[in-house]
């Protein structure tokens, strides 16, 4: 942390304006109540307080390297106290040396110094404590600010790590079942087996590459989704069908990469899991008020209670919030026979969040 007075010109000026006022005030007191002459009053006040102002600046470092707080140790208090005694003695000594060697009034200062000593000491202690307190407030405020900043940063780091973890997570059920399908296809339909290997490789490559803040076009996202769907279609055959309705302007829209993938995976998983017969998946996309709206829906057969998806959906919601800084971009609509997730993707991305892929 920088010195709050020395690092800021305006505060430094203010600091010395205050000291000039104190010097003026002190001179007036000396003249009016102690019947000093004008010139010696001004000289005495100026010398003692200009000296003190330098000590005052140094007090910041004292405050910086010890820690006076509610939980401070006894020896820290003693350090402060010792520094104060040493500081004030030094201050008094320097004053004496300067005043008694300064021009025509040196004799006067020599005579009055001893009698002025108690008031000088109490003034010194008072100012010492006052300045220490002011610096304490400064440093406390700064530390608090740092702490809050660090907390916010830490939180963001954790969030990002979590996002990284979730989006690169490849569902092992999907992976091994797909490999099992390839195993079967090699025996039954070798040509299709090769096709499936290529599709699966594409999927794996995309899943491993993606970064949490990467943005790409809906067209790219769609081709990934349909590639994924075609793998699942090979696995499930008749048991899985899809309906798509996409308007052309959507293709150019931008969205975080692989954000729809987990939604499609969930839709297929829960659709198929609940269905004895055919599971229907719907994928709709359109532009609305300069937002890309994507709807992914799956059929639900019977009273299959959807379990354990809350976390995955929350992570998508968080990722959207993280990229767009907006709440409620993901909505869940649960009906008796369908489970629908609706996503709104704003097309004007805040500058600081946008990272081109």
């Amino acid at each position: 942390m920088q010195h709050p007075v020395l690092s800021n010109k305006r505060i430094l000026i203010l600091y010395y304006v205050l000291w000039v006022l104190i010097i003026a005030g002190n001179s007036l007191i000396l003249i009016n109540y102690l019947n000093y002459e004008v010139l010696p009053s001004i000289i005495e006040s100026t010398v003692s307080f200009i000296l003190f102002s330098l000590f005052g600046l140094g007090l910041w470092y004292m405050e910086r390297y010890t820690n006076v707080s509610a939980g401070a140790q006894w020896d820290q208090w003693m350090t402060h106290f010792g520094a104060m005694v040493l500081g004030i003695v030094t201050w008094l000594g320097l004053q004496y040396v300067i005043l008694t060697n300064l021009g025509p009034h040196s004799g006067f200062f020599k005579d009055t110094f001893l009698s002025a000593l108690p008031i000088k000491i109490s003034t010194g202690v008072l100012f010492w404590i006052l300045i220490t307190l002011v610096f304490y407030v400064f440093s406390y405020h700064d530390k608090l600010h740092d702490k809050l900043l660090m907390e916010a940063k830490l939180k963001e780091n954790i969030q990002q790590a979590e996002l990284e973890r979730i989006k690169s997570q490849i569902n092992p059920h999907f992976l091994f079942n797909s490999l099992n399908s390839i195993n079967a296809l090699v025996l039954i339909q070798p040509v299709q087996a090769r096709d499936m290997i290529v599709k699966l490789s594409d999927y794996l490559r995309k899943s491993l590459q993606v970064k949490a803040d990467q943005i790409h076009s809906f067209q790219e996202e769609l081709s990934n989704l349909l590639n994924y769907f075609s793998i699942e279609k090979i696995r499930y055959g008749e048991r899985l069908e899809i309906n798509t309705e996409i308007t052309k302007p959507c293709f150019e829209a931008q969205l975080p990469s692989m954000i729809l993938q987990p939604l499609m995976e969930n839709a297929i998983k829960y659709g198929v899991e609940s269905a004895i017969n055919t599971a229907s998946i719907a994928l709709y996309a359109k532009m609305r008020d300069n937002e890309l709206v994507v709807i992914i829906e799956n059929s639900i057969e019977g009273n299959n209670m959807r379990k354990g998806t809350g976390k995955g959906l929350n992570l998508i919601r968080e990722r959207l919030q993280w990229v767009y800084g907006e709440l409620d971009l993901l909505q869940i609509i649960k009906k008796e026979n369908t489970f629908t997730v609706e996503l709104r993707i704003p097309q004007q991305v805040p500058e600081k969040h946008l990272v081109a892929s």
């Binding site: 079942n177 490999l179 195993n183 025996l187 008749e238 048991r239 198929v272 609940s274 004895i276 019977g302």
Partner: protein, 240 residues
């Protein structure tokens, strides 16, 4: 020898069927694509060997085993199961991790064909981990009960009475099984004969010194007795 393949993916079924087709001892290959069909076919056709996928729609492989009257030799197939594999070992002749090689398949099949297995042990207390649903048979139907729907469980001889909103079902099972396998934060064994869903408790009243009774929401007629240890468990679970 009759074989049944229970797989929800057609290619997975075809692969096993293909492997089985060259086995001379296999006289018939039956197929099922979901748990309900599997239960029905096993009870009706009495296959000698069943290839049973663990992940199935509606009823999973373990639940199928709970509901069958006839005990065939079971070979589980699973793509990836992080917790259950050790449990399957106890209940099945073998289990195959997908994708499996033809050699591995024939090795598993060989155990059945050569009578190397000693039949399936009692499944009743082997349900792994925490259950999310309970399956019961009512007449010739199979009912899937999600545990959120359960208000409380009551011991009744060798059975457990599962009490829900407006209906109750008997299941051949022990209280100990439910106590161990239902999520313990929701289901509390308050008495030797009762397990209560904590979310369904309306009130707990003190009717005598150290004697408490639970009233269930929207079901005021039946009061559930609470034992001394049961009361302590309730206090811990509900923080009072």
């Amino acid at each position: 020898m009759k074989a049944l393949i229970v797989e929800d993916e057609p290619l997975a079924r075809q692969l096993i069927a293909q492997y089985l087709s060259v086995e001379k001892q296999i006289s018939a290959i039956l197929e099922a694509s979901n748990g309900f069909d599997a239960v029905r076919i096993i009870n009706k056709e009495h296959p000698d060997i069943v290839f049973l996928d663990v992940e199935l729609p509606k009823l999973n492989g373990m639940e199928v085993l709970e509901l069958i009257d006839f005990q065939p030799a079971i070979i589980f197939t699973t793509a990836y199961d992080h917790y259950a594999i050790s449990a399957f070992e106890k209940n099945a002749v073998d289990y195959l991790l997908k994708p499996f090689s033809e050699d591995r398949f024939r090795q598993a099949l060989g155990k059945v064909l050569n009578n190397e297995f000693t039949g399936i042990k009692d499944l009743k207390n082997e349900m792994p981990g925490t259950i999310e649903r309970v399956v019961v048979r009512t007449g010739n139907k199979i009912k899937v009960i999600y545990i959120d729907e359960i208000k409380f469980l009551e011991a009744q001889d060798d059975y457990v009475n599962i009490v829900m909103e407006g209906e109750r079902h008997l299941k051949h099972q022990t209280m100990k099984f439910f106590e161990r396998n239902l999520p313990e934060k929701d289901f509390i064994r308050v008495h030797r004969s009762y397990i209560v869903n904590a979310n369904c408790i309306d009130q707990i009243e003190n009717y005598e010194k150290d004697q408490y009774l639970i009233t269930i929401k929207e079901n005021n007629s039946q009061k559930i007795p609470v034992s001394k240890t049961g009361y302590n468990k309730l206090r811990n679970a509900l923080n009072f």
